[in-house]
């Protein structure tokens, strides 16, 4: 097989950061190339350079042997290169068809006017490929999440008709928010795509990468540290190459299980969130870790948000430390000692543009001041510094902007915002590991485990069964907004993954 796309000594320098350091890479025809690495290792930057969103600071990129340089995604698309983004890149108030072709060179407009008929016909062909039955002129915000993900895929597949010859399709973490069936559908498409294109596939999940790829590159700190062919390697080796340490035993064992006879910290009775959750009942003891899991739309996230008071309406009874409470807003929850780490870190948890310290002290900083109103910057900095050390948050200083940290460190800083609170009794974590690489995930799990040992109650919604079983004392499975199964004492009697999955679907 000959090289379709080759990169030689590609470097990318952002102000103050060397994101990519002389990367060499080769993509052959009809192959799926896996790309793995920790957060901040430069995977996404590399994809963006190939996709024309960034331009390299140095080095050369060759397509079919001739040097190329893309000034924009449009130029890349003309050359047959398409990028499926890490997060959904569909624009809600445009139609499916408009979204499919927004980044493509098309002839669907004349003098700036759309020819909708042609565009919709072309769109229907693409939608058929991904077996999605929606009208092309449906606005995207009327679709479900999964439908949108399929549109996202169709968006790249539409390059097939528009460009002659062999394609390059880049997938930047496409699976992190997909269900197993959706992942299967995706993999089917990827295998079909191999007929006429080459694929680069990024994921944090080593088994996925190994399942789909013919070859794997490992990136670390902007460098290409290893290349392995399929069959030459296993997840443990890849993990070690990526993180630089052994995988086994990375999460501490549970030392003293929670005392179930102790007074309940939280008692949820008949919790109903209209359209999302129905009659959910469960208890959380002090020091207990309760894991919630279910497929998309099962309502696990809504349970968390209702406890924290950000669902628009909910009914049922919630008792907190023996008293009935009515939490209607986050500040009320915080007043009770409840904290919440939302799934949407960028939008809901982080104040971009502000420093790590400012982000950490926003909620409980005033506890370290005088009378709850006057602040003591000295004392709260000391406390923040303390948590930076305990959670091993990698930041140049407390005053570094939080959005310039890597995802894992951002998440730890968000977590420590709550840990600063001396009155915190219950922490609700909503997909806390989403977007984190395995190393960061293990660090975070150890921190959570440690907190539970210290008596903090934790409710969390996990991404994978693996992390559910690793971390939880109790697992609650939700299906269609109702509680379908409960597994107690998970750490002593581990439920099989099959049992959990059966309860989910």
């Amino acid at each position: 097989m000959s090289a379709l796309l080759s990169l030689q000594n590609i470097s990318k320098r952002f102000p103050g950061v060397l994101a990519l350091d002389e990367i060499d890479m080769e993509l052959r025809e009809h192959e799926v190339l896996g790309l793995i690495g920790q957060n901040g290792s430069g995977k996404s930057t590399l994809m963006k350079i190939i996709g024309g969103l960034h331009q390299p600071s140095a080095g050369e990129m060759r397509l079919r042997g001739s040097p190329v340089r893309f000034g924009s995604p449009l130029e890349a698309a003309r050359a047959g290169i398409g990028l499926v983004h890490q997060e959904q890149s569909l624009i809600g108030n445009l139609t499916v068809a408009e979204n499919l072709f927004i980044d493509k060179p098309t002839d669907f407009s004349r003098f700036g006017f759309y020819r909708r008929g042609r565009m919709n016909d072309a769109a229907r062909i693409q939608l058929d490929k991904v077996e999605l039955d929606v009208a092309p002129d449906t606005p995207v915000d009327q679709l479900t999440f999964a439908q949108r993900q399929m549109v996202e895929l169709a968006k790249v597949l539409s390059l097939e008709e528009l460009v002659e010859g062999h394609l390059v399709v880049l997938f930047d973490e496409p699976t992190s928010v997909l269900t197993p069936t959706e992942i299967q559908a995706l993999f089917r498409q990827v295998r079909r795509l191999k007929m006429r294109s080459s694929v680069v596939f990024i994921s944090h999940r080593m088994d996925e990468v190994l399942a789909i790829s013919d070859r794997v590159y490992v990136l670390s700190d902007g460098r290409n540290v290893a290349e392995r062919a399929k069959g030459e390697t296993d997840p443990d080796e890849l993990y070690e190459l990526m993180v630089g340490r052994q995988r086994a035993g990375s999460v501490l064992p549970r030392n003293n299980p929670p005392d179930k006879s102790a007074p309940k910290r939280l008692a949820v009775r008949d919790l109903t969130v209209p359209g999302k959750v129905e009659d959910v009942t469960f208890d959380v003891a002090s020091g207990e870790i309760v894991g919630l899991i279910g497929v998309q739309g099962s309502g696990a996230e809504a349970v968390c948000r209702a406890i924290f008071g950000v669902e628009d309406s909910h009914s049922g009874h919630i008792e907190y430390e023996g008293r009935p409470v009515r939490v209607s807003c986050p500040s009320g929850a915080v007043g009770l000692g409840i904290g919440y780490v939302p799934a949407e870190r960028k939008a809901e948890a982080m104040m971009k543009g502000m420093s790590v310290c400012q982000n950490m002290t926003v909620t409980f900083g005033s506890d370290y001041g005088y009378g709850g109103l006057l602040l003591s910057k000295r004392r709260e900095r000391r406390e923040a510094a303390n948590w930076v050390e305990r959670l091993k948050i990698k930041t140049p200083s407390l005053d570094h902007r939080i959005d310039q940290l890597s995802g894992g460190n951002q998440q730890k800083a968000v977590l420590s915002k709550w840990l600063l609170g001396r009155s915190l009794r219950l922490l609700v974590l909503d997909h806390p590991t989403r977007g984190l690489d395995p190393g960061a995930r293990a660090d975070l799990f150890n921190a959570i485990r440690q907190l539970a040992e210290d008596g903090l109650s934790i409710v969390f919604v996990g991404d994978t069964l693996d992390e559910m079983v690793t971390l939880s004392d109790t697992i609650l499975v939700l299906r269609d907004g109702r509680l379908s199964q409960r597994f107690d004492d998970v750490q002593t009697q581990r439920p099989s993954e099959e049992d959990i999955v059966r309860a989910m679907v």
Partner: protein, 348 residues
């Protein structure tokens, strides 16, 4: 393949709070006339008509409806232009200045009682081009220098108002071009050409908004500019385009005012801006962008014009009219966006 991992999932509405409103609001900007997503604005308008009609019988007379439409023509043209900027999530405050400048420029270029110029229809072209250029300049400063549109256009407001005053000759120029003034005078079915012009413009603007890249990408920019940039779209060009349209239509508003009053007045644009923005917002165009449109703004204009007309018709205390108008703006906007309320909605 052993699929050992299974992923728990959020509900679709939660998936993307960044586009949070999109999740809950199912029916949305879509081709066809059923585009007024919430009944709020229309209900406000009808309620207001009912109240006024019950207070004074003359209110629903043909003559009064004609009066309302005549008064709505110029604000409607300005609001249509403003809509293109607002759906992108930007704002243009320069309207009063641009309209005033257009008004005075036109009246000294067309046959008039003060200067010797007589460019005829060419004057209209020059003025429209000026409005377009000012709008494009606004857009360029905003998009390419990355300065907030509020500030850029605030400064442009002062600049254009100053230029209008500098252009004012020592006497008020009276427009002598009878064809031009006839635009406002000659009636067909009891309505002047200005009303028909405004309706035609609204139609064209609606087509542009729904059927062209400029219109559609404008909506997309308002919904999520970062994604549009990610798609490789030249966002800045579309921003400049929207501001240019706004500048041009505001200039047209100044021209139409000149036709109505028959003289050049360097303060002709006064009172166009804030009611114009209020009209758009009352109609359901969000200041944050991505939602609303030309038809919404037209309904908003009708709400405001009807209110003013009705207050005069019913003999409300003139001193309190501003106060009543202010209250109605707040109530109408709250009503038209009530269905969007969510705890996690951000309104600035």
């Amino acid at each position: 393949m052993t699929q050992a991992q299974l992923h728990a999932h959020d509900t679709s509405a939660m998936a993307s709070p960044r586009r949070g409103e999109a999740g809950t609001q199912r029916r949305s900007g879509h081709i066809g006339l059923g585009v007024l997503k919430s009944a709020g604005p229309i209900v406000s308008l009808l309620a207001m008509i009912l109240v006024f009609a019950s207070l004074t019988p003359n209110f629903v007379s043909v003559a009064n409806l004609q009066a309302i439409l005549e008064s709505a023509a110029v604000p409607a043209v300005v609001a249509i232009g403003m809509t293109f900027v607002l759906v992108q999530g930007s704002i243009d405050l320069s309207g009063e200045g641009v309209a005033s400048l257009a008004n005075i420029l036109l009246s000294i270029l067309i046959a008039n009682s003060v200067t010797a110029n007589d460019l005829g229809a060419g004057a209209i072209g020059v003025v429209l081009a000026t409005g377009l250029a000012i709008g494009a300049l606004n857009g360029t400063l905003y998009a390419y220098l990355r300065m907030p549109s509020l500030i850029v256009t605030l400064a442009m407001w002062l600049i254009t108002l100053g230029l209008a005053a500098l252009l004012f000759p020592s006497r008020q120029p009276q427009i002598l071009d009878s064809g031009f003034v006839g635009l406002a005078l000659h009636k067909h079915l009891g309505l002047s050409a200005l009303v028909y012009l405004a309706v035609a413009l609204a139609f064209v603007a609606f087509i542009v908004e729904r059927r062209t890249k400029l219109g559609r990408i404008g909506f997309a920019i308002g919904a999520d500019e970062a994604l549009v940039r990610l798609a490789g779209v030249n966002v800045n060009a579309y921003k400049v385009g929207a501001f240019a349209i706004c500048g041009c239509l505001t200039g047209l508003g100044g021209i139409l005012t000149a036709a109505q009053i028959g003289v050049g007045n360097p303060l002709a644009g006064e009172g166009l801006l804030f009611p114009g923005i209020a009209a758009c917002v009352i109609g359901g165009t969000l200041l944050s962008g991505g939602r609303g449109g030309v038809l919404h703004s037209l309904v908003g204009v009708l709400v405001l014009v009807t209110l003013r007309n009705g207050l005069v018709q019913t003999g409300a205390n003139p001193l309190l009219q501003k106060a009543i108008e202010g209250m109605v703006i707040v109530v109408a906007v709250a009503a038209s966006t009530w269905h969007l309320r969510r705890k996690t909605r951000v309104v600035k």
